[in-house]
């Protein structure tokens, strides 16, 4: 019988990290197909249309679910056309530069409490940092480069204008995003995401109840940061063709899509973590769950399910809002960001601090 090499803590954690990341990666790779399906069928339902329902095997149509699969295959086998005037190197790198920060972002989300495998304690977040919140803000900040570079490297009118618009929008809404999270740090006193979750131990200590204004600001910024409707000016198809990815096709276009949906998922998860108690199931304490199921791991998996359900709600909200609200004008967008959300965020921070100090 083969002798297994004795693993030390570091080796186990490194292997666990890679495995966890691959699991997350495979998970997020499934988001765009499913979400695109949702984004086609849901408006069809809302507008009393049928939506895609033709692709299928023989008579099994599966409600058009296979349509997105067909689209993905089509995208990969398309010819890749690069504009002659493009800056080639950056043109090829830009989708990747856009994708990497979002992958880092989603890796920093704690999906559940630690599980135990063979006596090793393995936390259910790929990256667990004490300054998790700052890390996420930093990563979102760097995420702007993908958009900026894509538009600039395509060297076309629409792409450049679209990318400038998109990046100006993203940086404008990063400030209120950052400000909206400060009250939570004030209340819970930590920057570590796992500790922020643990601090919201009961439903009434959830972020949304303790700091509702923060939630409002965060929600608006969530839509703006991902360039989604009603803030999707950067790809307003009636004026800018498609915005920063006008010149992109085939697999690189798919990468942009992936990046956008991963960012949406990551922000939805972050919203659930900060305002809705993360992986904690409402009204059921984690210890109760452990004693009920008799296993730490099963309880942890329940937690993961809870977080994913909460995140799924926000993903649904993205679609819902997209087909409900009309698009803002660019001046309105900037006005909301700088003249409404920024003062509101600052006032929110100040008021929270005053109330906390008065209560202490």
């Amino acid at each position: 019988m083969m002798q297994l090499p004795v693993l030390d803590e570091t080796a186990v954690q490194i292997i666990a990290t890679i495995v966890k990341f691959l699991v997350v990666l495979v998970g997020v790779l499934h988001i765009p197909p499913v979400m695109i399906w949702v984004e086609r069928r849901v408006p069809a339902l809302m507008q009393r249309r049928r939506g895609p329902n033709r692709v299928g095997f023989f008579k099994w149509r599966l409600w058009g679910l296979l349509q997105t699969l067909a689209d993905a295959v089509k995208l990969i086998f398309k010819e890749e056309s690069v504009p002659g005037s493009a800056y080639k190197g950056f043109f090829h790198l830009a989708p990747l530069i856009g994708l990497l920060p979002t992958l880092l972002f989603v890796s920093a989300i704690p999906f559940g409490p630690a599980i135990e495998i063979g006596g090793w304690k393995i936390p259910l977040s790929v990256i667990e940092l004490d300054i998790g919140l700052l890390f996420i803000l930093a990563v979102t900040g760097v995420g702007v480069y993908g958009v900026t570079l894509a538009g600039w490297a395509s060297n076309g009118k629409f792409s450049l204008l679209g990318s400038l618009r998109a990046s100006a929008q993203m940086i404008s809404y990063e400030i209120p995003l950052g400000l909206s999270l400060i009250p939570l740090v004030l209340i819970y006193g930590s920057l570590n995401l796992q500790q922020l979750i643990l601090a919201q131990s009961s439903v009434w200590k959830w972020g949304i109840f303790l700091s509702p204004i923060s939630f409002l600001i965060f929600l608006i910024c969530m839509f703006a940061e991902t360039n989604r409707a009603p803030f999707d000016l950067s790809e307003g198809e009636s004026e800018l063709v498609a915005g920063f990815h006008t010149e992109y096709g085939s697999a690189k276009f798919a990468l942009f899509f992936l990046g956008e949906y991963v960012a949406m998922f990551a922000l939805s998860c972050l919203c659930s973590v900060l305002f809705f108690g993360g992986w904690q199931i409402p009204f059921v304490a984690h210890e109760q769950l452990v004693s009920l199921t008799g296993s730490v791991n099963i309880a942890a998996l329940c937690g993961v399910m809870a977080l994913l359900l909460k995140a799924a709600f926000f993903m649904w909200l993205y679609v819902w809002v997209r087909w409900t609200l009309p698009r803002f004008r660019y001046d309105q967008l900037m006005k909301i960001g700088w003249k409404f959300l920024l003062p509101l965020g600052l006032a929110n921070v100040c008021v929270t601090a005053l109330v906390l100090a008065a209560l202490a």
């Binding site: 004490d130 300054i131 930093a138 990563v139 979102t140 900040g141 900026t148 100006a168």
Partner: protein, 171 residues
């Protein structure tokens, strides 16, 4: 020992990328390499146990300042032809600098180990708290003055960039 190798790795990235910053003809490429340099330095800060510094390095430097650079480059639409050339005395200056640099590095290498070993710290831990306490107690006045600096920068940049104060030559 592993840490030292990581330090060398990121140091190499930082040096090569910063050479690219000053030598490349394309300004956007230079800006992107500046981002690489900054991120490599952030990694060095993590190795030095300065977690908070690393975070603001990426958050403010890579995520905000260089974005301003890229915006200006894209706004003025600087092509390669407008940015390429080196100044006239470049070769001699470069040579002199290289010589001086080699000399100082030699001195550095010779004096290696002359400094006392530092205070051993823990792994990168949450030092945000300590930085904050130092900033808000001992460095209270510099901190308040810093806000005045930001105010000045805000006003100055609005005044300078907003409108041409005198007629443009080529208009």
């Amino acid at each position: 020992m592993v840490e030292v190798w990581f330090f060398y790795f990121f140091a190499a990235i930082a040096v090569v990328a910063s050479l690219g910053v000053i030598l490349l003809r394309n300004p956007v490429a230079a800006a992107m390499l500046l981002v690489v340099t900054l991120c490599a330095l952030a990694a060095e800060y993590v190795l030095l146990g300065a977690e908070f510094s690393a975070a603001i390095q990426v958050l403010v430097y890579a995520g905000a300042i260089v974005i301003l650079f890229t915006f200006v480059i894209m706004m003025l639409n600087l092509g390669q032809e407008e940015v390429g050339q080196l100044a006239g005395f470049s070769k001699w200056a470069l040579l002199l600098f290289m010589l001086g640099g080699a000399g100082v590095i030699l001195i550095q290498r010779l004096s290696m180990g002359a400094l006392p070993p530092g205070v051993p710290g823990g792994a990168a831990s949450d030092n945000t708290y300590e930085v904050g306490m130092a900033l808000f107690t001992k460095y209270l006045w510099p901190f308040e003055l810093a806000s005045l600096l930001i105010l000045l920068a805000l006003i100055a940049s609005v005044v300078i960039a907003r409108k041409p104060t005198f007629p443009s030559r080529d208009a």
